[in-house]
Subunit: 358 residues, 2 copies
Amino acid sequence: MRFYKIIAVVPAFVAVISSASSQERVDPDGALHIQDLPVPLSSFLSPEARTYMLHLLRDHPFAGGPSPEQDIQGYRARQDEIMNWFLKPIRDRYPANVEHKTIAGVYTDVVTPQGGVAPKNKNRVLLNVHGGGFVSGARTAALVESIPIASVEKIKVITIDYRMGPEYKFPAASEDVAAVYREILKEYQPQHVGLYGCSAGGMLTGMSIAWLQKVHLPNPSAIGVLCASIGDLGGGDASYLTGPLNGFTMPGGRRGSEETQFRPAYLSNVDPKDPLAYPINSPTLVATFPPTLLVTSTRGLEYSSAINSHNALVRAGVDAELHVWDGLPHAFWYNSDLPESRQVYDVIARFFDRHLAK
Amino acid sequence: MRFYKIIAVVPAFVAVISSASSQERVDPDGALHIQDLPVPLSSFLSPEARTYMLHLLRDHPFAGGPSPEQDIQGYRARQDEIMNWFLKPIRDRYPANVEHKTIAGVYTDVVTPQGGVAPKNKNRVLLNVHGGGFVSGARTAALVESIPIASVEKIKVITIDYRMGPEYKFPAASEDVAAVYREILKEYQPQHVGLYGCSAGGMLTGMSIAWLQKVHLPNPSAIGVLCASIGDLGGGDASYLTGPLNGFTMPGGRRGSEETQFRPAYLSNVDPKDPLAYPINSPTLVATFPPTLLVTSTRGLEYSSAINSHNALVRAGVDAELHVWDGLPHAFWYNSDLPESRQVYDVIARFFDRHLAK
């Protein structure tokens, strides 16, 4: 309580900054070296989120399994196992029908809420592109991301099993999204269609806006770039801070750095400056984005790039909105046990309800 | 580049989280202990912001001067000196007329852009309540916050020299805001009035909404809670992380903690649960807030509480919007040399332009 008492008589702005004695070393280029820093769980977490974070930090439940290079099928099986942990309580909480449908030659799952689509949503549909690093997540993460939204918003969600690496390379996934969307537009007006995804799926959502323009398709009404950005997922303070805050060390024993571009096999053939893959490279393209929802969290590897994307969209005049949760990791909303996750479902549902035409 | 090459074949979500070997110690309660963590300047900073951050981290330009307890007038003189560093380039960049006016017995500065108020803003006015920890900033930080907004939005801004500590205690400042506002309402409709402030002024903005209801005055049209929250400024991951990221150690040699409530002398008589001082304590009150703009930055001590306030407002159904800048400290937008600061001016100006009635 010592600090409390001291700050009790020391006002904010300059008083704190002017405390000059530093435990940190500062390099000539401004790089800080942090030592001996305790960081408890965020005081803003719900009890459920505290329990989850403690589990992640202490038990490493997602560890294990082969790498994609060692055994791609084994890797996907392990990731699907993890996603099914998330999926089970979601299926219990959010009763929905899931029906396979091939659209334009692409496998999709069509999710409808058990009570039926709301009258206001009869002419509306959401497209989902799942996370999983452009290598996994089809039909599992896909349902984790789709079922709660279909159920909360009482809307049809079609989740697309787009082509991934290492078997396929960019722009295969963008082509699949465009193919499904083109077919969907035979039944729906673009102003009645939304598109969203998380992580790699959030990136693919932004990429898809670029690709749809290339193939002369109209924008959907609104998009959700979740746990992602419209550029690379790395960069900024998050590259350095969020690794340790999740209790892990980066591969190779090295911490995150601003060189940590997210470059999976799927994107290995892509110029990092190519706006078709990283739309933030083109302000002209960014200015054409439809209303865009960004959701991130302060222990998510993407949080700096997400807020930077939000700023770029706002500067370009796009109706972009940002929501951030404190002290939670990348894609935390996959876990429906957390009140914070259910807040995310509400934010997504309301966003599309506001932006899709009636 | 080693990490880059490794991640090039490792996909995002689970792959990173599953890297289980940890350099961090994790306490049974989930507290991490970070060691040997390099954190460079954010890769998203503009060149001007890099220069400024380097200056802050290496030169500690805001250090020095007496504490408020030692010498309140000396403390204020030092803070005013610092604010005048920011004010000088602002006066050069944003020509404006500043006129003293006593309103309802309260000292105010009335700021009008040199070219005159825009026709659309003839019936509109913004009220500003300055930062400075409820102890300093009157007539200096006040102009730093008011002049750029008056100039960019071409609108009249009245900045209020409200009563502060240690001479006065809560709710003196809220009473002064209410007194000025009551007088302003003789000339303006509430739907034509906006209110904003930064740091302590951001807190006071939220407090004022509570106080106006207590004294039966209508809400202004929209408010800006900048570098602040509608609760305490501390809490969350920011309490622990942003101190080291600014290169300073907290007073008493201890780092920030979740006990770091911002409790200046002005608030020393207030129950931390009192919604009149900390509106976030009352969801019923929060639900009555007008459209609210929140601006924060990831190295700002308030960023966790700011995003938490945004979430609380959104959950309560308030039209709240959040903007965050990466790698910048508390109240960075006082420095008009930064493109990021000028982006903040634009965000504030557009926000009020959208929300104030025509």
